[in-house]
């Protein structure tokens, strides 16, 4: 997905001289094509992410639309206060890109995992939170975020994530993308965990259930229109994310429902409230986090959903 990010940014920056990239000394040759025609706008900020966030806000104040880019924990939690004050409070159109989100860098350990970033970012006023599921979604949403001209957090994967769409879908920022309609159960997935959601749907199909599958790429603002509709159509809503179940996407859905008169039963699946270490692949890490179809089906069965 990071390759898609670099490619799309390069394409867009050709026609839009206000686009500018700060990266914290990662990416190696990823941004060479951008540098070829926009060297001054391709800025290695060094391994100094807090300074990078404030510098980007400074650039935005001078009329640019900057991106800041590095591995997710370093561009969300390490520099959180700079994001809060210089980007969110001062409402500057900086797009914060976290690459290798969730468990993408499973083998690199908790230093490189990010299960708290959605919670942090969605707690900031003015901030928008967008988690594309694959390169297609990234490509569809990126121009819309630039158009938005506001603080954004763009939570992406690393590389070689499977495509979850057969071809380019048409996505709208702030609106869910219904992968396929269904009944009784809705599976709402955000970000790169969508392949697991698709697998879960197949498992549910085998149990005679035809759930609706939704890519909930925009976590903030939530698509309330869809949720209002979902409240009447489904008995159960399952949320899926590669993020702590506390404070993330599932929490956002639950918070919204809790303010309504009645709502479906909500089942949140994500990373349990513990650090995940001693793992050597994303699959192993998900297994250790009880984030497999078998685990989820087990829970759903215990709760009498299936």
């Amino acid at each position: 997905m990071r390759n898609a990010f670099a490619r799309v940014l390069t394409e867009l920056a050709k026609d839009d001289e206000s686009l500018l990239l700060y990266y914290a000394d990662i990416g190696n040759r990823l941004f060479n094509p951008l540098k070829e025609f926009a060297e001054g706008r391709t800025i290695n900020a060094g391994i100094a992410e807090a300074n990078m966030a404030s510098m980007a806000a400074g650039s935005a104040m001078m009329g640019y639309k900057p991106f800041i880019y590095t591995i997710t924990p370093f561009t969300t939690s390490r520099n959180f206060e700079q994001i809060k004050i210089d980007i969110a409070y001062q409402n500057q159109p900086v797009i914060i890109v976290g690459t290798g989100s969730g468990l993408s860098y499973a083998n690199l350990g908790p230093t490189h995992h990010s299960f708290e970033d959605i919670a942090l970012m969605r707690a900031l006023p003015n901030m928008h939170v967008i988690c594309p599921a694959d390169a297609y979604e990234l490509e569809q949403l990126m121009p819309q975020l630039i158009e938005l001209n506001a603080p954004c957090y763009f939570r992406i994967g690393k590389k070689n994530e499977p495509a979850v769409h057969d071809g380019q879908p048409t996505l709208t920022f702030g609106k869910v993308h219904v992968m396929h309609s269904g009944e009784r159960i809705a599976v709402l997935s955000t970000g790169t965990i969508m392949p697991l959601a698709q697998e879960l749907v197949r498992a549910l199909n085998e149990r005679g259930v035809s759930p609706e599958l939704v890519s909930f790429h925009t976590v903030k603002p939530l698509d309330e229109e869809y949720l209002n509709d979902a409240m009447t159509r489904f008995d159960h809503v399952i949320t899926l994310e590669e993020h702590n179940v506390s404070g993330g996407f599932g929490s956002a859905v639950l918070e919204y429902f809790s303010e309504q008169a009645s709502w479906p039963r909500v089942h949140r699946f994500g990373i349990p409230d513990r650090f995940i270490d001693q793992v050597h692949s994303t699959a192993d890490a998900r297994a250790k986090a009880d984030l497999t179809v078998a685990d989820i089906m087990g829970t759903l069965s215990e709760r009498g959903v299936v």
Binding site: N51, A56, G58, M61, N91
Partner: protein, 267 residues
């Protein structure tokens, strides 16, 4: 009015506003008055009647707790009426104890969390150069503020890019919130430290208006970022406040304000 009398007037108003509105950080404000006076009356290319002029120079206040010093300087520089300063810190006022997004004309950025201004100005200075524009950026930081790591991140970056449109001024009053700034952290040798980080440095008496003016002029043609280390006195101008760190938080009584007024020679 001479620069001296402008600075004295600003100092008196700071004491009076602090007393009447119960706004703290008077000592921090008084130490940087001369620096602000020279910047706003001599150094910077600004148009108070057109505060958003795109060709202006920018001043960024790092030590946001000295907001009152900036507000008062702007008021006497005709950005708005000095009478408005007495709304300081009141509910609904644009004069917040730390400048917010509703701050009055002339305040460029939010401040209050230390160590942000130099980073912001570095991004602004780099972007300005990229656009081929001529704006210059002046950042005032406290010595306590230099405890923040981001200051040194920005310092390394700005020097690496040789940002010649960026000037940092350290209000080196040797005191921070709870003690001596040279003891709480290993600040000295401060000028050499900035030089080692790739900046051209100028050391100056931060209360000598002529010396400050010369230093700020001397910085203009330098083809790298410049740090002016200004030796200052916390509480400068009011004998019983000078070098007394209680005035980081204390509020003066009406009698103390009168005494300050006499000492400052303000009519």
């Amino acid at each position: 009015m001479t620069l001296n009398s402008i600075a004295a007037q600003i100092r008196y108003t700071l004491c009076d506003v602090s007393s009447q509105t119960k706004t703290p950080h008077l000592g921090s404000c008084l130490s940087c008055v001369d620096i602000l006076t020279v910047l706003y009356w001599r150094t910077m290319h600004i148009t108070p009647s057109d505060p958003d002029n795109p060709e202006r120079d920018y001043f960024l206040l790092g030590k946001g707790h000295a907001a009152s010093a900036l507000y008062t300087t702007l008021a006497y520089r005709d950005y708005f009426s000095p009478a408005a300063l007495y709304e300081h810190g009141q509910t609904g006022s644009q004069f917040e104890e730390h400048p917010g997004i509703h701050a009055p004309a002339g305040v460029e950025t939010v401040s209050g969390s230390l160590g942000h201004a130099l980073s912001l100005a570095t991004g602004m200075a780099l972007s300005t150069r990229l656009k081929g524009a001529k704006n210059r950026f002046y950042v005032l930081m406290g010595d306590g503020e230099l405890n923040e790591g981001t200051v040194w991140e920005a310092a390394m970056f700005a020097a690496g890019k040789r940002l010649s449109n960026l000037v940092a001024i350290v209000d080196f009053n040797k005191l921070q919130g709870t003690g001596e700034s040279t003891e709480i952290m290993h600040l000295e040798p401060l000028e050499e430290k900035w030089r080692a980080f790739g900046w051209h440095t100028i050391r100056v008496d931060g209360h000598d208006l002529n010396a400050l003016e010369q230093a700020l002029e001397a910085a203009k043609p330098i083809q790298q970022p410049v740090c002016i280390v200004a030796d200052t006195v916390k509480g400068k101008g009011v004998s019983f406040m000078e070098n007394d760190n209680n005035w980081h938080y204390r509020i003066p009584t009406a009698e103390e304000v009168d005494q300050a007024k006499q000492e400052l020679g303000v009519l």
